[in-house]
């Protein structure tokens, strides 16, 4: 019969007559006594257009203009002129930039290992079908559902000098800790909040991966006398390794771009002497407002792009190396 009845997947993954030009051609071809008459003159581009317009206008165009602006001295309300690498040279001498870069990098170094390991352990904990486990899974996911502002404000209150954590610490005789007044404690508290909020999300990702671990492997290992720890290292870990890489990639990119947690806990100016500012906070601070330095903020954004891409490549490369 016609080619349509036996579509070869290699050549045509889509129905042969989706688009208007082909549809008319197909309509002309006699096909089992039927003709396709009611083909509206619809271009496939009509389907893709809304998405393409939005994404092009509000994502890709701003991306390109961010890169271009980084070479200008553009300000809000003031057209800029080309200044070459001046913005980037200025970055090198900007203490605030180095503080931001340091904090964002530190964020990745602390948060990523925690978010690769802890959710996996949590997933193993909620994996077994025991009564009430669905409730526990949902409950552990609640911090993911709650918006970051709520989470931030809850922990500001929890970690306040007079808050719950300090009250508990005092009750057990440990004395008060100024979580939100010390530069480093503040940053680490924000990291802890990021991890706390992310646990449930990555737990679900791991749960899906664990479900795909072949049962036979565990059984065989058990028969061979492998204990739980041994089975975790030799069976579970290799089986979820690609998921660990995915989690590492997702969480490192997210951690480097951290904004809300630190902004809420440290305040708009980034804690004591601005020492807790992250790079995205710096972009927001320098680029907005009527006097916002668009060009300079764009240069910081370009650094963010570059580091983000580098992080992805780094994680993927580590993955390949281990694969060998």
């Amino acid at each position: 019969m016609t080619a349509m009845k036996t579509p070869s997947p290699a050549t045509s993954p889509a129905p042969p007559a989706g688009g208007a030009p082909r549809a008319t051609k197909a309509a002309r071809a006699p096909r089992a006594g039927r003709r396709v008459r009611r083909q509206l003159p619809t271009s496939p581009w009509l389907f893709a257009a809304p998405g393409l317009v939005i994404v092009g206008w509000f994502i890709l165009y701003p991306f390109v203009s961010t890169v271009l602006n980084s070479f200008t001295d553009k300000r809000q309300l003031v057209e800029g002129k080309y200044v070459g690498l001046a913005n980037f040279r200025e970055l090198l001498h900007d203490d605030m930039f180095w503080i931001g870069l340091r904090n964002s990098t530190l964020y990745v170094l602390v948060v990523v290992p925690a978010l690769v390991i802890l959710p996996l352990l949590l997933a193993m904990l909620v994996q077994k079908q025991i009564p009430g486990i669905t409730f526990f899974r949902s409950a552990f996911y609640t911090p993911v559902v709650a918006s970051i502002v709520v989470v931030g404000l809850i922990w500001v209150w929890m970690l306040d000098e007079r808050g719950l954590v300090n009250a508990v610490l005092e009750a057990v005789g440990a004395g008060k800790v100024g979580f939100l007044s010390d530069q480093w404690l503040l940053l680490f508290s924000a990291m802890a909040v990021t991890v706390w909020k992310g646990l449930g999300y990555y737990m679900i990702i791991y749960l899906a991966a664990l479900a795909n671990v072949p049962r036979e492997l565990h059984e065989a290992a058990a028969v061979d006398g492998a204990g739980p720890v041994r089975r975790f290292v030799s069976v579970t870990m290799p089986a979820v390794r690609s998921t660990m890489v995915l989690v590492a990639a997702l969480s490192s990119v997210a951690a480097f771009k951290v904004f809300s947690e630190v902004y809420l806990m440290a305040g708009p100016t980034g804690g004591p002497a601005g020492e807790d500012t992250t790079l995205v906070m710096l972009v927001q601070r320098t680029g907005t407002g009527l006097t916002g330095r668009v060009g300079y903020a764009s240069a910081i954004s370009v650094v963010i792009f570059v580091v983000t891409v580098a992080l992805m490549l780094l994680v993927l490369r580590a993955d390949r190396k281990e694969n060998r």
């Binding site: 045509s12 129905p15 509206l40 393409l52 939005i54 006398g225 204990g227």
Partner: protein, 303 residues
């Protein structure tokens, strides 16, 4: 490691106790009671850590003006629970207007994302035309762009459109997300295409095939897109913070930040505000958690 663990045969040989449910591990083997007990202890400990802060916030929001919220040792149950703080937060900031603003943006985001992503996803997966690969590439590239890095340019774009400080401005950049388009594309690709072929032979045009055949087949993914679109818009903080300057137009997240900044001393108020912000989401999540988990899992598997 080399010591004897009871092998499967021995475990199975044990006299089966008459029980309704049999606790099993991921391999379908019976679990020992102490192991089960340990699991529940751990589960409860994590539960306290994950839910505790929310309950503490709820408790704070219910404590009256004369109750010491800084007592040591801390008291979890309000001695005289009151909803007074919820009234007060509404007197202090127009919290219900903010919630309504958030709701408007979130609802619009759901509609635009479902429609836009389904249409574009269908075009990428099922239609054939010159430039399809290029269109797919556009969405993939857009997905890779870190939004945090382009907010200043987005802000400038929005200002040129005269849409700064409007809810439309809050909505527009995310109203068709590239990730959702690609999710829908994958979903459409997984629909066996013989069905559509049959409809085509029967003379169904592209819209009919889209609405009557393809769309019903990807309802699950569409639900996931809807849920994430709602949550994303309801939770968004950085972008509304940049676009909105007029307190009348704030969304709930920005309003809460404002409340926190202005009335930082009254934790009861801030607590009441956060409860208002988080409760709808928890209810929504509780109702839809099945789709939720499936969606997150699917997303993970597909990368």
């Amino acid at each position: 490691m080399t010591t004897t663990t009871p092998d499967t045969e021995a475990v199975r040989a044990e006299a089966p106790r008459p029980r309704k449910w049999r606790p099993t591990d991921e391999n379908g083997r019976r679990m020992r009671v102490w192991e089960l007990a340990l699991r529940y202890v751990l589960l409860l400990a994590v539960l306290a850590l994950m839910i505790g802060p929310f309950l503490w916030q709820l408790s704070t929001s219910l404590k009256g003006p004369h109750e010491n919220i800084f007592s040591s040792p801390p008291k979890f149950l309000p001695s005289d629970p009151t909803l007074h703080n919820y009234e007060r937060v509404a007197d202090t900031i127009p919290v219900w207007d903010y919630a309504f603003n958030s709701l408007k943006v979130a609802a619009a985001n759901v509609v635009t994302n479902c429609v836009g992503a389904a249409l574009a996803g269908y075009a990428l997966a099922r239609l054939r035309y010159r430039g399809r690969k290029a269109a797919t590439l556009v969405f993939i590239l857009a997905m890779l762009v870190p939004v945090e890095g382009i907010i200043i340019a987005q802000f400038t774009t929005m200002r040129d459109l005269g849409l700064n400080n409007t809810l439309v401005g809050v909505l527009l950049p995310g109203c068709v997300s590239a990730l959702n388009v690609l999710l829908m594309r994958n979903a459409f690709l997984n629909v066996p295409y013989e069905i559509e072929e049959a409809a085509f032979v029967d003379g169904a045009n592209v819209w009919q095939r889209f609405f009557r055949i393809a769309l019903p087949a990807v309802k699950g993914t569409l639900a996931v897109v809807a849920i994430f679109a709602f949550m994303g818009a309801w939770d968004d903080f950085l972008w509304p913070l940049i676009v909105l300057s007029d307190p009348d137009k704030f969304t709930l997240t920005i309003g809460l930040n404002y409340l926190h900044g202005t009335f930082a001393n009254d934790e009861r108020l801030v607590a009441a505000g956060t409860v208002i912000a988080v409760l709808p989401l928890i209810v929504l999540f509780a109702c839809l958690q099945r789709y939720f988990f499936r969606g997150v899992g699917e997303g993970a598997v597909k990368g």
